[in-house]
């Protein structure tokens, strides 16, 4: 019966559609620790990440996540032969895991970069420094955010 066949198709389409719709909300609306790990892997590849040399400075308790001062300093002579090539900063729970990637060189003299960032929740921030020799060093900081970025200010 042609009518039945058509009916079956629509039902199948409906079920497939319903399945899709029910899956969609499960896609992360924010970065997760796994997303951060994936973003870090993209930068670092299979190289080992060592603790140390990097200092990540940001307040441990943040009242307003809209503008949080953050400073990354890396211990390095910043010479032609041995310098920090890049500093990457990642977050765990903002909508996406990247914060910034800075490319540096011997002309910087000091491997220090400061900026202000947004934080959507209490979370862990990770800074990774890449040396000219291809080594990776990291530091992390746990922060508590009382007023998250992006929640108010919708006037």
């Amino acid at each position: 019966m042609p009518g039945t066949e058509e009916g079956t198709t629509t039902r199948r389409t409906f079920i497939a559609g319903a399945a899709l719709v029910s899956v969609l909300p499960l896609a992360p609306a924010r970065a997760t620790p796994e997303a951060m790990a994936a973003a870090i892997k993209e930068v670092v590849g299979d190289n080992a990440i060592r603790e140390g040399r990097v200092t990540l400075d940001l307040p441990p308790l943040i009242e307003n996540g809209n503008a949080v001062p953050l400073t990354v300093s890396v211990d390095s002579p910043m010479s032609e032969a041995d310098h920090i090539k890049a500093i990457h900063v990642f977050n765990e729970k903002n909508p996406q895991p990247h914060v910034f990637d800075a490319r540096l060189g011997p002309r910087n003299g000091k491997a220090v970069v400061a900026t202000r960032i947004k934080l959507g929740d209490s979370q862990k921030i990770v800074a990774i420094a890449e040396t000219s020799k291809g080594e990776f060093f990291s530091a992390s900081a746990d922060v508590i955010v009382t007023l998250a970025a992006c929640l108010e200010d919708l006037t």
Binding site: P95, D101, R107, N108, G109, A114, R116, I117, T155
Partner: protein, 106 residues
Amino acid sequence: MTQVLINAPKTARKGEVIELKALILHVMETGFRPGTNGRIIPRNIIERFTASWNGAEILRMDLSPAIAANPFVSFFAVATESGKITFRWTGDEGFVVEESVAIDVA
């Protein structure tokens, strides 16, 4: 209209490591927030900030929506020769701003 604030020394000794600070007015709209009509406000951020000393790049930064509104960046540079330090911001919706400061290196 002042869009950019730059803090850099006007003079420096050769080889001295100086601090450069740059701030620009920009909303840095993340693209994740709904507006008053319930629709997502489209992303509008500065994607890249670069600084160059007499044309030679000394810092390049890729920014994400996680950078606060009115992006501020502070970094260091070795004073090599007299000339011009140029700061350049580029981003969504064809945003390009370039600003230079002069420096005397003795």
